[in-house]
């Protein structure tokens, strides 16, 4: 029986660093040198993220209980208002705050450097805060019931667009700060050779973020001018194309950040290392080069953009970005398998998986995020993004059914899992109620998966998204939805309740730990798990030799099951499509 220790991979003082006096501390668990300025801003952005998670979560449960036909909680205006608020606080405010914190970590901490600029960090935080408050207030006052997409000529109060612009500028400054940190770390030789994989992944995310934010400016600045009557009109198709250059690409920033977090948590929880640095890095490069084409997903049944444009953007190079995700989908679990086998868990195909530290919320959250993202999000996303299949899916509940398993079951869950290390390592506080911490990722995973299944199947019955009343009461031509659709909307509601319970639990656990937790300053964090049944003898007889390093039969079986599920779902959708009316 041994306790898993995380480090020390980096011995303190190994590299010189460029920290000013008194602005660095050595992590007692990992041995990493931590820039205290970066640390302070990581804390502030983490708190900002958790607060917006709570606000967005409260909106989520109210929306979920409204879509559940048996409950139908909110009146129509508040339903649409909270859908807007929910999208804003979750997709934009919460996630980008987490990502800025990750950039500061991957830049300053992992490169043993100081953060590039303290004032830039304050400007980032300030603008993001002002922008978020402006948007939230405008929406809550009922002056911006425009959904997160705010498609023109639907009009919101100018303050809404201005808030978005300020928030985007703030985020851009944060990204510039990250690039500045990369520059001074290189200049001051704070590290040797190539940057670590996680910094590489974060750099990919940052590059995509810059392109995304340029799209944000291109869309939102003219729209703001239009809202204050300085421009007479905005072309709705132009708006949709440029807006999705922002809307979809921002999700690819999340994917890059999430994959980096997967590698980080694999390392922190079982000591894994990438199977092949070259493969992992090449996959990140594919994201940078090709992922922006994916934004065409949203205009597949639009007028005014032709079939050639639609097919080109959603096939060919776009699938190289899909390839990148499929590569990470193999290397992440494979690196876990190699690490676990090296520890002596050699039995059978899946002994390594069965003995994985499932009682460590950092591990369970990360691995569930991987499975949910891959099986749920990946398969549905690529299928819905197929030009013709989109005819059956556009603007139905299948769409949020898809992105709730990618962004929420994938990215948000990975960020929650990371928090179980951020609090003890960065805030230097121990969690209370460890049993509840261990339960939380499972509860959240079950809730969000149930909800997404409900959405996806309701959507396949034709139930629209962003829609208050599936009964269409008051309409002259009410459609009669299949009773199956009502069952699925009920499942959506039940899933939402479970997921919200898990979000609330998460917020309570984090707040209790951050404000009232026992300090662990001066000693390593309390480990989340104790490894089971590995004796020194077993370990010795199964040392990870060079030839052992690539033995991953279990992962190979898992990804083959994945590929088979993918093919079945994909071709089933073509079959369903061939059943509907002919259209050109």
């Amino acid at each position: 029986m041994t306790t898993t220790t995380i480090g020390p991979d980096v011995t303190a003082g190994e590299a010189a660093g460029n920290h000013p006096r008194g602005e660095v501390r050595v992590c007692d668990t990992t041995g990493l040198a931590i820039c205290t300025t970066a640390e302070r801003f990581m804390k502030l952005h983490a708190v900002f993220a958790v607060v917006s998670l709570l606000i967005g979560g409260v909106a989520a449960i109210l929306i979920g209980l409204t879509r559940w036909p048996a409950v139908h909680l909110l009146p129509a205006d508040w339903y649409y208002r909270l859908v807007t608020l929910h999208g804003l606080d979750m997709l934009i405010v919460m996630i980008l705050n987490f990502e800025i914190a990750i950039l500061y970590f991957a830049g300053a901490v992992l490169l043993n450097s100081r953060l590039y600029s303290k004032s830039l960090s304050w400007a980032t935080l300030g603008l993001m805060l002002v922008g978020a408050v402006m948007c939230n207030a405008t929406v809550l006052m009922g002056k911006a019931d425009v959904m997160v997409t705010s498609y023109v000529p639907l009009r919101a109060d100018p303050q809404f667009y201005l808030g978005l612009i300020l928030f985007s500028v703030g985020t851009l400054l944060g990204v510039i700060n990250f690039f500045g940190t990369l520059y001074i770390a290189k200049r001051d030789h704070t590290y040797e050779g190539s940057v670590p994989l996680i910094t590489f992944g974060a750099t990919a995310a940052a590059i995509i973020a810059v392109v995304t934010l340029l799209h944000a400016a291109t869309t939102m600045i003219p729209t703001y001018l239009w809202s204050i009557n300085l421009l007479s009109s905005i072309d709705p198709e132009w708006y949709r194309v440029t807006w999705w250059g922002l809307g979809h690409m921002s999700q690819q920033v999340n994917v890059c950040a999430m994959v980096s977090v997967w590698y980080l948590l694999g390392h922190l929880t079982v000591g894994s290392k990438p199977l092949s640095e070259a493969v992992c890095r090449s996959a990140f490069l594919l994201y940078i080069l090709f992922i922006n084409l994916a934004s065409a997903h949203h205009e597949l049944v639009d007028p005014g953009v032709g079939a050639t444009w639609k097919i080109w953007n959603t096939s060919y190079a776009m699938y190289l970005a899909v390839l990148a995700s499929m590569i990470h989908g193999f290397t992440v679990p494979a690196s876990i398998e190699v690490a676990m086998r090296a520890k002596g868990f050699q039995r059978g195909l899946f002994g390594w998986l069965a003995n994985a530290p499932w009682s460590n919320p950092g591990f369970s959250g990360f691995f569930l995020s991987l499975v949910i993202f891959g099986f749920g999000g990946g398969i549905t996303g690529v299928t819905l993004g197929t030009q013709q299949i989109n005819i059956m899916a556009h603007n139905t509940l299948r769409i949020p059914g898809h992105f709730h398993v990618t962004v929420v079951g994938g990215t948000a869950l990975a960020f929650m899992a990371l928090t179980y290390y951020v609090v003890p390592l960065i805030f230097q506080r121990e969690f209370y109620a460890k049993a509840l911490c261990r339960l939380q990722p499972y509860l959240f995973a079950i809730g969000i998966t149930t909800m997404s299944i409900g959405m996806s199947f309701a959507g396949s019955y034709g139930v629209p998204r962003r829609h208050w009343d599936v009964e269409f009461s008051g309409s002259p031509f009410a459609p009669a939805f299949d009773s199956g659709a009502h069952v699925m909307l009920g499942l959506l509601g039940v899933g939402a309740v479970i997921a919200f319970t898990a979000v609330l639990l998460f917020v309570l656990l984090v707040v209790a730990a951050v404000f009232f937790g026992r300090s662990n300053a001066g000693r390593p964090m309390e480990p989340w798990h104790v490894e089971r049944g590995v004796t020194a003898a077993v370990r010795a007889s199964h040392g990870a030799g060079e030839d052992e390093e690539h033995r991953t039969p279990g992962t190979l079986v898992l990804v083959l099951v994945f590929l088979a599920s993918f093919a079945v779902y994909y071709f089933a959708n073509w079959l369903w499509l061939s059943d509907v009316w002919h259209v050109r």
Binding site: A334, F472, R551, V583
Partner: protein, 175 residues
Amino acid sequence: MSIRPPAAGWFKAPHGAERLWIGLALCWCLVMSIAMPYWHFYGKQNSTGEAYRVEPGAFAQRVQRFVATNQVGELNGIPIVQPAPGGDAYLQAQMWSWFPVLKLKKGQTYRVHISSIDLQHGFSLHPLNMNFQVLPGYDHVLTLTPTSSGEFTIICNEFCGIGHHMMAGRILVEE
């Protein structure tokens, strides 16, 4: 380790299971890449995005003319309009109604012109679950051949203000 700079000489080609998987994944991506152009030429369901610029007012006039010349009845106070098989049909989206009710023949092909005279709307045909985007300023032409008969409901699936959830219309298809 993923949190440390890798040892020098890290750029190595993949091998073993990893290499096999990259090959398999690439093949699958190629299959999916070919599927869309294949369906474009040989499949019956495609969104070609055919559209023409039109002023909302001008489109409303075309709809009125279409209704005046082809009306065959009335349903819930809304005209039922029967276009000639093979001809043009018009459908107008407006907060929060679809106008008029279309009466089509199964197996006949129509050029259905859809546009909005105010905000963006979504054309969603129930219970078939076929969905298209409707924009003001764009005459979106769907070359449509109903392959089943009966009563079909058009739902709006793009948020268009507070009465969005009441925006439904109808297409009747006879044998």
